[in-house]
């Protein structure tokens, strides 16, 4: 069975440097759907990125900055981007060399189709 998010995920995974795309429940951190390259543990990414997004969203609200729309984290060996809508979070895991601007634009478009 094809999930309703398959088209969204297929569009994002095509970007050079993207290693995985996930749709995750923000509250429970459970994986809803994903397209992953070999070696990416979807369950762990789902849990941790949902937690990070939730924390960013709450902190942003508590700090009076409003709701967090897009969260991007860079590390030595990769990048994680997350954008939320309703109870779902769309997550992209990528290599450092990824074109972040392009991925960001596509994620903001794709998130409209979530929920």
């Amino acid at each position: 069975m094809t999930s309703p998010y398959a088209t969204i995920l297929a569009g994002l995974i095509r970007h050079r440097g993207v290693k995985g795309c996930l749709v995750v429940g923000e509250t429970d951190g459970l994986l809803v759907d994903s397209t992953l390259q070999f070696g990416v543990n979807g369950q762990i990414f789902a849990a941790l990125t949902a937690s990070l997004f939730r924390k960013a969203r709450r902190a942003s609200q508590a700090a009076g900055l409003g709701d967090a729309a897009f969260v991007q984290l860079e590390a030595e060996n990769g990048r994680v981007c997350a954008v939320g809508r309703g109870e779902l979070v769309l997550v992209v895991v990528a290599e450092p060399r990824v074109n972040l601007g392009l991925v960001r634009v596509d994620m903001l478009k794709a998130v409209e189709a979530l929920a």
Binding site: L52, S60, A63, G64, L65, F70, Q72, L73, A75, E76
Partner: protein
Amino acid sequence: MMGPDDIRVLSDALAADPGSLVFLQLGEALRRQGQLDLAWRVAMRGAERHPQRPDAHDLLARVAADRGDLDRARSAWESALALSPGHPAAQKGLGFLFFQQGLRADAERLLAAAQAADPADASLGAALAKIRAIGADPADADDAAQVRPMAPTPPRASVAIAPPSAQPRTTQAIAAPAPFAPAPADPRDVFAGVLPDETHAALFLDADGLVVAGRYKAADGRDVSADIGAQLSGVSDEASRAMRHLGLGAWTHLAVEAEQASVAMAPVGDGVVLVAAPRRVPLGFVRRMLDRAAERVKRWVESGT
């Protein structure tokens, strides 16, 4: 003064109901007993939970003053007065702090307001008399150090810690943008020149989320550095945790685009530097400001200030 049993009762009450206002009594009791680290934690958590309560910021300021963190004390008292302009304890605390820093006009204004609210407070009368006697002669600023011993009941915060500035300053002078100097007199000015205008903000936070340098002002002019720092530092903690488990190495940049602002953070030493800009500012520009702010902080830390 409260004893250990009283403090235990208050601690238990706060543990049973972390959202209660018992933290005000507990924090003050700990402060008076000299348990400043504990008092600080209680006050910080209280201010985080009750950011709209001026007495929470007042408690934070008193504990900060006792810890010798006068910048933080000032920031917290300013927050208290922004929330409640006539808050007598904050007027008194900040008034004494200003006097110690040579800001006589501001000190007189605040202490006079505090005295109007509490005419029986002899410490206020004595301090005001001293300020007025000093007049406009900057050479007399050293006399400010005598204020605290004169006061039979010192302000609830013992702010007479730092020696007065040799050069009298005004709050306006402190707030004005100034070219960056390797060792700015006010840590809040560390990012001067890095940010394009006052709609942008930068903070340097320590590992506990406490503001070390920089400032963050809300649209209404309130200094919300402490609140923003405390809230957003938790995100960097979460980022560290996530990266550790995901095997992506140490995190180097974190950006949050929120409805009102874009915030970017980067680790610097044991702390975090944070830059905020209105949402209309492109994320790439925010990122470059962050890099510049991080460089500025590194130089500032290396300069030993």
